[in-house]
Amino acid sequence: MFLPTWLIFTFLALCCFGIVGLLQKLSTDLVSAESALVWLIVGFLLLEPFVYPGQSLSHYSMRSIAFVLLAGVLNSLGSWAILAAMKNGGKASVVVPLTAVYPMVVCLIAPFVLQERLSPMQGVGIACALAAIVLLAC
């Protein structure tokens, strides 16, 4: 059976992101959420040479660089919070799908910040996400 390269990479990415949820729970059973985050970032930084763009970053505008750096800060804040959720008794099988609905907030904010229109399909997605939050909290 021939599998296209992109499909193999897609399934590898899917498995990696799925395994991460399990590791978050396993790590916070043994160390504090803060410690887990520090070592998570160390692990993440080990892969920096593979994404080093090999060119000067100075030709990008300061505004765009600031937004991307700020994105990194918020990513680490979110990562700390999910680790803290698991440390404080949250089940991996509940916390991971619960937090995965974060695009709902982006869809709600995007019309104001990015002047994007909310499509009817995204409206359905928001309704599903809100219902999911309530049901997962049961």
Binding site: W6, L7, G18, V20, S32, G72, Y102, L114, A129, A137
Partner: protein, 145 residues
């Protein structure tokens, strides 16, 4: 419904809500930044943005006092596997994968975590929570279209 009342009093629920807010901000700022900066330099720079919090926390008492080797190994693997996942995602796009198909497929990752948590951690979900998992997955798929 009384269980919702008790859940909203738990810390893990509010930490989960904070995760949603943090990652929504991350996605939004990344989107604004990526209007100019391509994905790989952007990934490199956002990793740099994660360093300040790690640096501050490295000096916190509960980090210095939390040195279980197995826990640290899991955490390191957590970061490495996240990075590998992102590299695979970028490779899938570069190898000609349809953007929607790649995005929707990878968005199904909570199902993988759920399966692993049930198999390895013996976690159990109620019927309502299972319905919540299905709806969460449906919403993630819709958002990634």
């Amino acid at each position: 419904m009384s269980s919702i009342g008790s859940t909203v009093k738990t810390r893990w629920f509010w930490y989960s809500m904070l995760t949603i807010v943090g990652w929504a901000g991350w996605a939004l700022f990344l989107k604004i930044g990526s209007l100019e900066i391509p994905s790989e330099p952007s990934l490199f720079m956002q990793s740099a943005g994660m360093v300040p919090l790690a640096f501050i926390l490295a000096f916190a008492a509960n980090v210095r006092g939390s040195r279980n080797k197995k826990g640290i190994t899991y955490s390191l693997l957590n970061g490495i596997i996240t990075g590998i996942g992102i590299l695979c995602l970028l490779a899938a796009y570069r190898a000609g994968g349809n953007t929607s198909v790649v995005a929707v497929t990878t968005a199904l990752y909570p199902l993988v975590t759920f399966a692993l948590a049930v198999l390895l951690l013996h976690e159990k979900l109620t019927k309502l929570q299972t319905l919540g998992l299905i709806l969460a997955t449906a919403s993630i798929v819709i958002f990634s279209l």
